[in-house]
Structures are given as structure tokens and as C-alpha cells.
Assembly symmetry: C2
Homo-oligomer: 198 residues x 2
Amino acid sequence: MAIIVDKVQKKKDIALACKDLFVNNSLKDLTIAKIATNAGISKGSIYDYFQNKEEIVFELLRHMMLEHDEAKECKLKSVTTAKERVKIFAEFFYSDETKELREIYKDFISINLTAPNEHITSFQTECVNRYFNWMCNIIQEGIDKQEIIPKSIDIAKGLFALGEGMFISSSITNTIDDLQKELNQNIETIFSLIEVKK
Amino acid sequence: MAIIVDKVQKKKDIALACKDLFVNNSLKDLTIAKIATNAGISKGSIYDYFQNKEEIVFELLRHMMLEHDEAKECKLKSVTTAKERVKIFAEFFYSDETKELREIYKDFISINLTAPNEHITSFQTECVNRYFNWMCNIIQEGIDKQEIIPKSIDIAKGLFALGEGMFISSSITNTIDDLQKELNQNIETIFSLIEVKK
DNA sequence: TATAAATGACCAACAGTCGGTCATAAATGG
DNA sequence: CCATTTATGACCGACTGTTGGTCATTTATA
């Protein structure tokens, strides 16, 4: 009897329309009014689709991550060794292609640290868990192929956390001069320790 | 001609008076008015000492960290091996004694990720750099004592970042069941790789 | 015409400002 | 040495502008 909009699709449209806005502005400087204007709808309508500003960030992150994960999956297939794969994994934290995603990711971390939002984080929990598992699989494959020693599996999650920790540290304080260099050097060293000696 | 208050001391007093408030509330729920009431002064006076809410967090963090670092220094002296020292270092991320400090630390990370605040972060940069160096020294000492192999030094910063990354991940998403267990297991595994074989 | 979508005026809460008040230390003078 | 004046900085809270979020009303379409 009346138009029925696809709420799921519209949420996605609104979030993606604001991508540049979120990427180029600090979350604090962004107002609902600006976001609404940018998305070409009114302030009131924003609230028909999202409960607050934070939810828009989550929606945006969700879609950018899905896109990124597909690209990553492809790239991971293009190499064969566990070490190469781990390095590709670490690219998330410094490469140019993921610059925009990282900006949103920072907003996401920031939101969740200041104002934990139980019901929204489920997707992100899944997502990070998926990364942990992904890393575990890469390591396990390396073990199965006898590239690296069995106990490498014990530091699989740690490898991901190492990247995350360095990323946060270098974002917040300038305690790391060159994230890419530092990260890859750590990976090299760790692999020299876990590689099977022939 | 008039009373001159020790601004440095008063900043400290205000910040410390609000410790419980910051520890027990999410930063978002705290208003300047609440903070002022809690500190026993007026809203206007808050602005005589701080530019905004964020600065109070920084001030508070500064003092809690200094206190924590002294305690840590003591504790580090009580053990002898690099592995034990690294484990003590990692306690920051999960122990009961540092619970309050961690809450403020989370606020600090959150603030800096959403609204980088150039002129204030210098202390924190120093602080984190100090932690990095601290860890490097612990590792270097272990190398000098021939407990661990020379190239261990290449993952010293990584060891600290690993803790930070796991801490953030476990705070944000429940992707880590037991931070303490996981962290110590990673340290054990890494040390089993870098320990000098006799 | 019935109903969902979209709107923007509206409100309450908040951060941050500013003119005014007051206590006290210094200066003055008897 | 004490009484009085004066200068100053600490402190306050009313005020302003901005923002997040609501809701009665309007608009569009099937």
C-alpha cells in the first residue's frame, strides 16, 4: 500500500555514502546533522535506520571488512608459504590499500573502549575471532607442510595480537618509527625461530 | 596580594579526587559537571586547570602510571631471569592490582584514537617509549647473561606489543577467554624458542 | 485512501565562557 | 606595630551555542 524500503540495503547505502566523511574526519567532529546532510537525508531519518552515530560506524566497518576479507583471501591464495601468508596478513596494519579501513577500525576500537556496546559488538567479535582463526589456520597449514615446527601453533593468536599492538601503539604515540619495517622484522625473526631446520 | 595556589599540585588533586569516578564510569557518561561536583569545586574552576575532560584523564593517567612504574621496578628486582621479568611486565595487562590503571589506560587509548591531541600526548609517548626500552633492557640483560639467544632483542618491542594487542582484543571483543593464561602461554612458547640450549 | 517514509521543529543535556564576588596578601600610613 | 586600603587571583554559576535524539506532521506511493 505504500513504499517498502529495503531497510538492510538502505542502512548499507547510508553508511557507505558517509565513508569519506568518516575516513577524513575524527569521529568527535562528526555530527549527526553533517552525516545526514552528506547521506542526502534528514536527521530524523538517520534514526529510522540507526540508533546512534556509533551504529553507523559499525555498519560501515562491517561492509568494508567484508570487502577487505575477500581481497585478502585472494591474495593469500597467491602465495604458498606460511611466512608469506603471515606477512600478507600483517599488511592490514600498514598498507596503503587498507588506509581507509584502518581509520574506521580505529573509530571502532575507540568507541568500544569508551562506551562498550554489548549488542552491537557481536559482528566484530565474530570478525576478530575469524582473524584469529584465519591466522591459526595459516600456521597449522605451515606445520602440516613441515615448514614450521608444531609448537608454532601456540603463538598464532600472538602473531595477530603483535600486529594489533604495534598498530595501536604507533597510532597513539609515535613510539614506532616505521610500522611496516618493524612488523616485518618481527615476523622474520619469529619465523627464523620456528622454521624447521633442514 | 592574593592567595597563589600551586596549580601543578591542584591539577593533581583534582585528577586524583576523580579517580574512582573515572574508574567506575565510562568516559562518555562522565560530564564536566559531575567531575566538578566530585572534586568539590565548580564547573568554571575546572577550566582554570584543564582545557577539557580529556586533559583530566591524561593528568590522572600520568600519576597512576608513575606510581605503578615504581611498584613494577621493585617487583622486577625481586626476580632474576628475563623470562620471569617479562612475565611481571605482562601482569600489567591482567593483574588485579592494575585493574584501575587499565580502565584509565583504555580511556586514554580511546581518546587518542578518536581525537588525536598533539600537545598532550608527549608524556604518554615518553611513557610508552619507556616501556619499550624497559622491555628491550630486560631482553638485553637476558642475552648478556646467556639465558637467551642474541637475536631475541629483535622481538623485544614485539613482546610488549603482543601484550597490548591481546589486551585490546580482549577488552573490545570477547575473543580471548583468559587473557592471563593466553599471555603467559605465549611468553612460555616464545622463551622456549629463544632460550639458550645447554 | 491507507500506510510507510521522510521531515525538521523542538527539547533537554552538555561543553565551554565570562562577568562578577570574595578572601587574602601586600602596601600604606599613622 | 596595628588599622585601613588596594590589588589580585581563586572561585563561582548563570549564560550561550551546539548537539543528540524525539515526535507530530507532511509527503509519497500502492
